[in-house]
Symmetry: C2
Subunit: 317 residues, 2 copies
């Protein structure tokens, strides 16, 4: 039977599960991706993930040899524990050991931004480039750096936290408690908060629907609303700091941008890339390449397959 | 005869040469460091370097097996060529091939900031830490990142160019042509320029000597001069951006600060570290460790020895 890896993306709202044959050379290897709303109960989530991977492996007449799992941090990767996942309300959940016990195979977990980074670097828009940086702009902002096909974790598992670089110390409050983080200006959650502070809770003003989501803000900016244009411009300026920091420190061959906001707001990303070129050395600016995630909404689940593959054959995915 | 490597630091004003026995475990292995004013003529410089290394190797009754050389960029590392060194007026000087031909052994050259980084990471304040970032604040500002004992070069040999991150797009002009770079605010050359623009060319004003060098500015700031205090504060703010960018992207175990200004202005570096903690995620801030270069003014020549050692035994320095 073909050796297979299971790949899991446990998102704030949705969980994606698939399997892939080893060695993983292309995406998708197995066409079916199972999707379900992430249960708030961690044990129930693990149960559904197990049923999905074993079902998919059975369909593919393969033998599961490892599982990779990307999810929001902070995590204790060594022990496979979710330290805290505010969206699910999970605290100290040993998701890795639970999966390993139920499935009888090794499990690797990693932060979703980093998992997306390895997915894009090996199977997506970054394939063939080195180093690859990945910036995900969704409800929050995260990033990951891949060097020679390996994730950079840093000394304290904090490499790639450019979402919390401070663009302006007098800026808007961020969910992290600080002020003026890139995430406060340019993430989905940050923009929702800024929209509420700008237009209040009213759904209509002068007969027109006022912005409530990041998408609403960018739509209103396109229609010429001056407040929305200011918010959109500040979002691009903040993202430029994140891109310029990645370019100046790591000198990636490409920066891949994903996440729900990053994928939908191409104009924002283009503007941020242009501004970033003005914020770093001219040679770095000349080489700065920003691309959209090649795997769309599947960067993380693809990266989970790559991480599982590394567990089995450390040399290659 | 003991296998020895030659180590060379060709600085803007001074050249340092020494030798070290392999494997390089400690610094200094060979106590003598030959110093001379860097000749403006490249061929003369190569001649003096060759005489110095062969002389030192003879004294140590060893056999030279490789030479490492750190110098200001931009360089073509592959071909061993100095593309342009404004201070010496060198252009397209094949320093690597010249040394290799004269000495009959392999030569490696690298940018001085990166060479200093590997020196500090292997033999200096960063020994035992991983990753190690190194920030050199001298006439310019450069940095280098060492991961698992190896230098990060990036896709275009531009990793670590945090000196040209733009802290304020309306800021002072930088030698690179851009405005508001970290280097324009906090480097020796940047501060000299700011001093000249602030106090003019006069050497005295009201009977007191006006600041002309970076050291003068920091001295005047300590004495309470309001303009000098503003320049010193803006220098610390700009350096904080460089430190925060390194912390957020690479998550180094330690950031080692060297260079003539970095070594002399401990108060500036402490202030910049404090400000950097306010500009990144709180976990990153908690872990941010900034130390002074352990090898003082010899980080680069020590790193050159390490790079030469890697040429001979790629596994270890």
């Amino acid at each position: 039977m073909t050796p297979l890896v299971g790949a899991v993306d446990i998102g704030a709202s949705k969980t994606l599960v698939t399997v892939a044959a080893l060695p993983i050379a292309d995406w998708p290897l197995h066409r079916q991706v199972v999707r379900f709303a992430t249960p708030r109960d961690a044990a129930e989530c693990v149960g559904r993930v197990c049923r999905a991977v074993t079902g998919l492996a059975g369909d593919a007449t393969g033998r599961l040899v490892a599982v990779g799992c990307g999810m929001p941090g902070p995590l204790d990767r060594e022990r496979g524990v979710v330290i805290h996942s505010p969206n699910q309300g999970w605290r100290d959940v040993p998701i890795g050991p639970w999966l390993a016990e139920r499935l009888g195979i090794p499990v690797v977990i990693d932060d979703d931004a980093r998992t997306g980074a390895i997915g894009e670097a090996v199977l997506g828009a970054g394939a063939g480039s080195d180093p690859v940086a990945y910036l995900t702009i969704g409800s929050g902002i995260g990033s990951g750096v891949v060097l020679g096909g390996r994730l950079l974790h840093g000394a304290h598992d904090l490499a790639g936290e450019v979402g919390h670089l401070v663009a302006d110390r007098q800026g808007p409050r961020c969910s992290c408690g600080n002020r003026g983080c890139v995430e406060a200006y340019a993430s989905g959650r940050g923009l929702e908060r800024r929209a509420r502070l700008t237009w209040g809770d009213a759904t209509t003003a002068g007969g027109r629907r006022t912005p409530r989501s990041a998408a609403d803000v960018f739509r209103a900016a396109l229609l010429g609303d001056p407040d929305a244009r200011r918010l959109a411009d500040e979002a691009a300026q903040a993202l430029a700091l994140a891109l310029a920091s990645l370019a100046a420190t790591v000198d990636p061959e490409v920066i891949v941008v994903g996440g729900s906001v990053g994928l939908a707001q191409r104009r924002l990303v283009r503007r941020a890339a242009t501004l970033a070129r003005g914020r770093c050395m001219w040679e770095s600016a000349e080489h700065l390449r920003v691309m959209s995630a090649g795997l769309g909404a599947e960067s993380v689940v693809a990266g989970a397959a790559v991480l599982a593959g590394y567990l089995i054959a450390p040399g290659s995915p």
